[in-house]
């Protein structure tokens, strides 16, 4: 196997297994590995692909695809992506199978009720961190609360809102 592809696996697969809490948990280590240890990118390049992966749709761990591309082209992107998702997915899948196997046990219902407020707190914490991150502009804040108003008080779904918001922000460029 191409040693660059092997390098991607050796860097990303362990990060995958240690990404308790999600992608953000490993970003600092990923930067150290990619920039300082392997020298695949400069710090500025890493900052650029990080911003891109946060702005693009899908999980922000898709940064692995951009790093992989930089290292070894399309197959680098593919291998990098698989290396960041497959190991953790195997662990999660095993946990899910076990959890589903307990479907009828009474303690699962109790456990489920107990976990609900935990998830709720984490949802709010996540919303706050997105609002704080990446220089949310005044315009974005206005858009956010206008969209929230539509979502809460009308039957308008998110997809039309996204199209309108995208077109509105583009047209503002040309005003």
């Amino acid at each position: 196997m191409d040693s660059r592809l092997l390098g991607l696996i050796l860097v990303f697969a362990p990060l995958s297994l240690f990404s308790f809490g999600g992608g953000q948990a490993i970003m600092a280590d990923m930067k150290v590995q990619v920039v300082d240890v392997q020298g695949w990118m400069t710090a500025q390049q890493f900052a650029d692909v990080f911003a891109l992966s946060r702005a693009a749709p899908g999980p922000s761990t898709l940064i692995a695809a951009l790093i992989g591309w930089q290292v070894a082209g399309f197959f680098g992107a593919l291998v990098g992506t698989l290396a960041i998702y497959v190991p953790s997915s195997i662990v999660m899948y095993a946990a899910v199978r076990w959890w589903h196997a307990q479907a009828d046990s009474p303690w699962r219902a109790v456990l489920q009720r107990g976990l609900a407020p935990v998830a709720m707190g984490l949802v709010f914490a996540g919303a706050l961190s997105v609002l704080e991150a990446a220089q949310v502009s005044a315009l974005q804040l206005v858009t956010t609360f206008a969209a929230l108003g539509f979502l809460l008080f009308t039957k308008v779904g998110p997809y039309p809102l996204m199209i309108v918001a995208a077109l509105a922000s583009i047209s503002l460029l040309y005003v």
Binding site: Y93, G121, F124, V130
Partner: protein, 190 residues
Amino acid sequence: MTSESSAEKPNVPLSTLMGVFFRVGMASFGGSTAAFLYREVVQVRRWMSEEEFLAALTLSQVMPGANPVNMSLYVGAQLRGGIGAFAAALGLVGPPFVVILILGGLYARYGGVAAVQAALAGVVAVGVAMVLQLGTQLARGIRRLVPALIAMAIFVAVGVLKWPMIPVVLVLAPLSIGFELWMDAKARHG
């Protein structure tokens, strides 16, 4: 006790499952996957109850792996087993994988493409609105004091104080579960 859990699964075609995750993956800007998933899986299609969704969300956050991918594995496995988990994860990650490579290429060639950046800023703002909507929706469901306090403590510790999430959850989740056990025992013995 209703049999809403995995004993009775709606027989969802793999193409439907994949299609839902395709849409969610492409729509979820700004960390809003959970909110889009809630809409599709709980509100529109009723594949799971709100309580089950929240438990799945906690499991997805605590286990290693990207939370959206973990959620896709949970929902996919619940509806269609191993192949369902695979289809859901592929539907979620595949299309954004292509998109991010295209964006990466554009970025490498032209630098910051102003129109693309502006469009993204707009959709990210809607993504944040989706998360806030999920939050208000969930907050309405809390009717007891202790779960409300636990949710608030988690928000303050992780969101405001930026304490590491895993230890916070490892302390507060058992408290929350203990409370539910106690309530359960009380209900049973009067």
